[in-house]
Amino acid sequence: MASSDWLDVAGWSEAFSGWSMDNVHNILPSSDIDMQVTIPNTWAWQEPITLGPIFNMQSGFASIQPALESFMHATIMCTVVFTTMMLTMLAIPYIERKFIGRLMDRLGATTALRSLWVGESGVTAGEWWNQLPFGMGAPIGWVVKALNSKWGNSHELETIARVNNRSYHGYWFLLPGFFQAFADFMKFATKEHIVPKNADKVVFEVAPVIIIATTIMVFAFIPFGPHIYAANPELSLLFMMAIFGIAPLGVFFAGWASNNKYTLIGGMRSAAQLTAYEIPLLITVLGVAVLSGSFNIIEIVDFQMGQDQGNVWNIFLMPLGALLFLVTMIAEVERIPFDMPEAEAELVEGWWTEYGGIRWGLMFAAEYMRSYAACILFALFFLGGWEAPFQHTLSDLPAVGGVFTTVFLLTPGMIWVLLKAWLLFAVFVWIRASLHRVRTDQILEFGWRYLLPLSMLNLVIAVFLRLQFWTGEPWELWVPAAVTLVSGGLFVILAIDEDKEALEIQRRPYSTQAVVKASPGSHRE
């Protein structure tokens, strides 16, 4: 029995289109009409259509009513999904701007209540908890001081209170900085459109279309909730992964078409990078499909929800797959550790140096959409889609169980999907703030040498788990616990790549194996 919740948009739109079509059918005249009507041929259809001497409007309409109904249902669902995606996507640049602002400790309006900045000449607005009414904040102050003195550093400049000269921008009381992405987009719309003189005009125009179209098509197959999806074919996973992989080709065309040496190198890098991460990505997704037993994304999430008896999320069954999916998705959407195609340092702006105005704005938005799609997919595949965390354990609690069940009934599934996706995007931004950019030949080697075998291993684990331990009803408790513990232990052991012997000789804390192979300088002598 598939999971369901009250926000049954698919059902409503089906009912609505059925009801409206029936009304149209009833309004039409039901009596027979005996008149010969021929409709001449035009570009749309070749030979003229002649309606027979006696025909009945209602029966004619009845024959095409199911097609109209499904067409109306599909349009409603597409608009609903697209509007939810576009509206909730405004949160993505906001998360990026605020979280990276916080990581970079910017003075700008950050969501944080504390900033490491001291105002001019040490003036601060005092601790934020002192500004709570009726002195309610005092206990927080004591706790903070106790913690600071015990574990924190007591350096007086370090524990710096919030800056007082905080100048917001825009409607300060309402999420400062939220409409910045909106303003950027409107400005892109009013920019002049420049096509370089000897650029390849046709490909220059077509490349952004490829990128933007494929990005939006990906959202056709991504369900936001049990009943909120634009299309739900049997093999939605295959469709979606296929479409996801086309955009880097558009990047390559854009790079080639702008007739600029930087963009040419950027485009070549994107094509080369494609070969490095595409195969591991597909094998990881295959692992998920094998474990969940179906290629339909909604069924994958249902498998994780376990038809209301509570089942284990895939992240605990194959943490290796989750890690691989995260790494390959970052490479797919070309974010910081793997964003060589648009590396500012050496390629000015990479493949989109020659694009400006609305084309660049749309591609900029498309890049955010692809990251958003990657986050939602991670949430659906590994974090149990629209199932609230601990949904079944909480609702089975003896005393408080009832409260939780009503809460989970009231909140639609979409809320959980979006929260998980935004949390994932915060992880993307965190990775962007802390890692450097990898070279193209290093990601190619990393992809073939590490990602590919690991994704194979992950597939083997998924098949083994599915065949050996899957008995129809939910997993026994020890299976996910064992897998997670083993994987966590292995990760910690393997992550320590400090080479003690190299450390004390050459004072280089790390012997990164790749240096010997990937370093080009060694061949110079």
Binding site: A183, D184, K187, W352, E354, W360
Partner: protein
Amino acid sequence: MADEGQNYSVFNSRMLVDVVGDVTDEALKASRMKDIIGVLAGRMFNWGQRKSLFPLHLGIKCCALEMAAAGASRFDAERFGVFFRSSPRQCDVMLVNGPISKKFADPIVRLWEQMPEPKWCIAMGECAISGGPYFQSYNILEGVDTVIPVDVYIPGCPPRPEALIDGFDKLRQKIIRIGAAPGDSMPASTSPLILGDE
């Protein structure tokens, strides 16, 4: 509109777009909706342009460090939508922050022409305004406005980051006054408009 005997039997998307465009335009003009939309859209796009001024990542000399300091965390210019881009195609403001030597004269003009139309130029620092301490030098142009039209002058050697952010504020006031549509950025009168003292 019919060029070289276009036969209308074959469906032609360009013709459809033109026809629909003209018809709606006439209708809106007749019903005076065009002015309302014009005002609304004008103000909205003006707000959009004002709130996201992307300067070009062009560092010439000392003022480049003050530009970087303005972009960094203490004088965060990113709160005002100032986000440094490296390609001239994606920028609206060219922030000239150093002396323009003869060798750099035509590259900077080429950069200026590569920028899409509603573009402005901020001359930051004495060297960009009038050649600064090097006005006597054999290799320095006396100010950027010898080669490209300048909208806002920020005096100082180097001007403090607060002055740079105030310069962007002056540019925003100018955008409010002159409008952000392409071609508006160069008003007919070329005499510099002194803001704030009228």
